[in-house]
């Protein structure tokens, strides 16, 4: 089997969440989602529509840029589309998936990119959640976490920037946001989803070489553990070759240094 890095494995896991024909938006500072969209389009989902923060549709970059809104990410695109028009599509229910990063993710998939500590007097002021408070309420999301540990995977986020399943169960419906929600959480250790009734986070598969104990120790709440544990399928030789070809400088490794 070919050697691969955890970044490459995660990129492939994110790509597998994209179905053929999906319309997918990649945000700012999103190296792995950028790789995932390009992978999906090149392999299993040639008819997916790739939107990004360079405000273009379907770019075909020869080499991916460090800034995920850089001009190089406009290469060979079919058209410019201002982000607000992409958001209009989302409001009409015509955007299928976005990828979401976060400083904290809780057991119901709520994400925090705003503050650690109280909002008015924060211990740490974070960058802000970009599109999340709007898009997480109206469409499907997949969350990626490069560092799976108990400070990131927490029982309850300090501040809900991006809506997950709120307090679980039917809380989303009750809040008036019936559509969408987090589908999966892909970390450097494993893949998780959400149990359909309680909407609590549930382990789906462990990455090759990762133990259940390791995941439990690094998670700040009790994960639901399924009876049957899967092992995440590693990237194929072709997927690895493709990533290394479009990303010779290692943009995909940015979050892992």
């Amino acid at each position: 089997m070919a050697e691969y890095t955890v970044a490459e494995l995660m990129a492939v896991c994110l790509a597998r969440e994209i179905k053929d024909g999906d319309r997918v938006l990649q945000g700012l500072y999103s190296p792995l989602p950028m790789m995932a969209c390009l992978l999906a389009k090149n392999f299993h989902a040639p008819n997916m529509v790739y939107f990004n923060t360079s405000d273009v549709i379907d770019p075909e970059p020869t080499e991916v840029p460090f800034s995920s809104a850089g001009p190089a990410l406009q290469e060979r695109a079919v058209a410019y589309i201002p982000l607000w028009q992409t958001f209009d599509l989302a409001q009409r229910g015509e955007l299928d998936l976005i990828f979401l990063g976060a400083a904290q993710v809780d057991k119901y998939g709520n994400t925090n990119l705003s503050v650690i500590g109280p909002y008015e007097k924060p211990k740490v002021r974070l960058p802000g959640g970009a599109a999340s408070a709007h898009l997480c309420a109206i469409m499907d999301t997949v969350i990626w976490v490069p560092r799976h540990n108990a400070r990131v995977l927490v029982e309850k986020v300090d501040f809900i920037t991006g809506q997950g399943y709120l307090t679980g169960g039917k809380a989303r419906e009750e809040a008036g946001i019936p559509k969408g929600g987090p589908r999966k959480v892909v970390t450097n250790l494993c893949i998780m989803d959400f149990e359909p009734e309680t909407k609590a986070m549930r382990l789906v598969s462990l990455h090759p070489g990762v133990t259940l104990e390791e995941v439990k120790e690094n998670t700040g709440f009790d994960l639901i553990i399924p009876d049957k544990m899967e092992t995440t399928e590693p990237p194929s030789k072709e997927e690895l070759e493709f990533m290394r070809q479009i990303d010779p400088k290692g943009v995909r490794e940015l979050e892992f240094h």
Partner: protein, 271 residues
Amino acid sequence: MEEKLYSLQDAVSRFVKDGDVVAVGGVGRNRSPMALVREIVRQGKKDLHIVGREKGMDFDMLIGAGCVKKVSFALVSLEEFGLAMNFRRKAQAGEIELDEHACNSVITSLRAAAMGVPFLPLKGMFGSDVFRVNKSLTEIRCPFTGEKLAAVKAIKPDVTIIHAHQADKYGNIRIQGSPFEDILKAWAADRTIVTAEEITDNEEVRANTHLTTIPYIYVTAVVHQPKGAWPASCDHYYDSDMEEVKAYAQAIKTPEGFQEYLEQRVLNRRD
């Protein structure tokens, strides 16, 4: 059409006033109007309310230099170069007022201003603490269907600052590539200042009508400013200057480092 060519200094001193609501063009470190930002810092403008969706060094520098009282934003970050430390320090110290948004609620507040209406409705937002803490977002019901929606209050910029590729001396602007929300920002504002890589002849503009992205009726001042986005990128002209962004990210780790950067790279230098 009147001629609107100004020097960078004159454009900022005449059209940016203390206390102004300032919409800043570009996204991340792409086509950010950095020469205008540096000139605002040099002229020591105060109490500005800056507005933008996903911002970087431009917002961080204005905040660090003490020009800012309030920030309307969805994200302020230097992307892979790390946190916008001036933003972080001043926010943690309670020295700036934060008007935290989602990208689309910032954009919608500008769309409302551009349309001349006091607010616009938006789907989503409910359940987020951003909606709970932000005083310019509130719940309404659609008068026709009863649907629950978020009302987003208009933000009307006093002045919008943009860096573009080309302009004629009357203020007909060409942005080549993604306009981001720059066109909306110009529509929404009372005044718009545009720095341009090149000044084009009006005859050339008239011969290529389809290339004009912002017509002169929205533009107050034009400044001929090659490399006016530096160290941000300007699509088709230059990419972002990674060394300079890195130097900035390093400098802002401490207030002293930032002060030194300002003195060397901004205050004692002209664009």
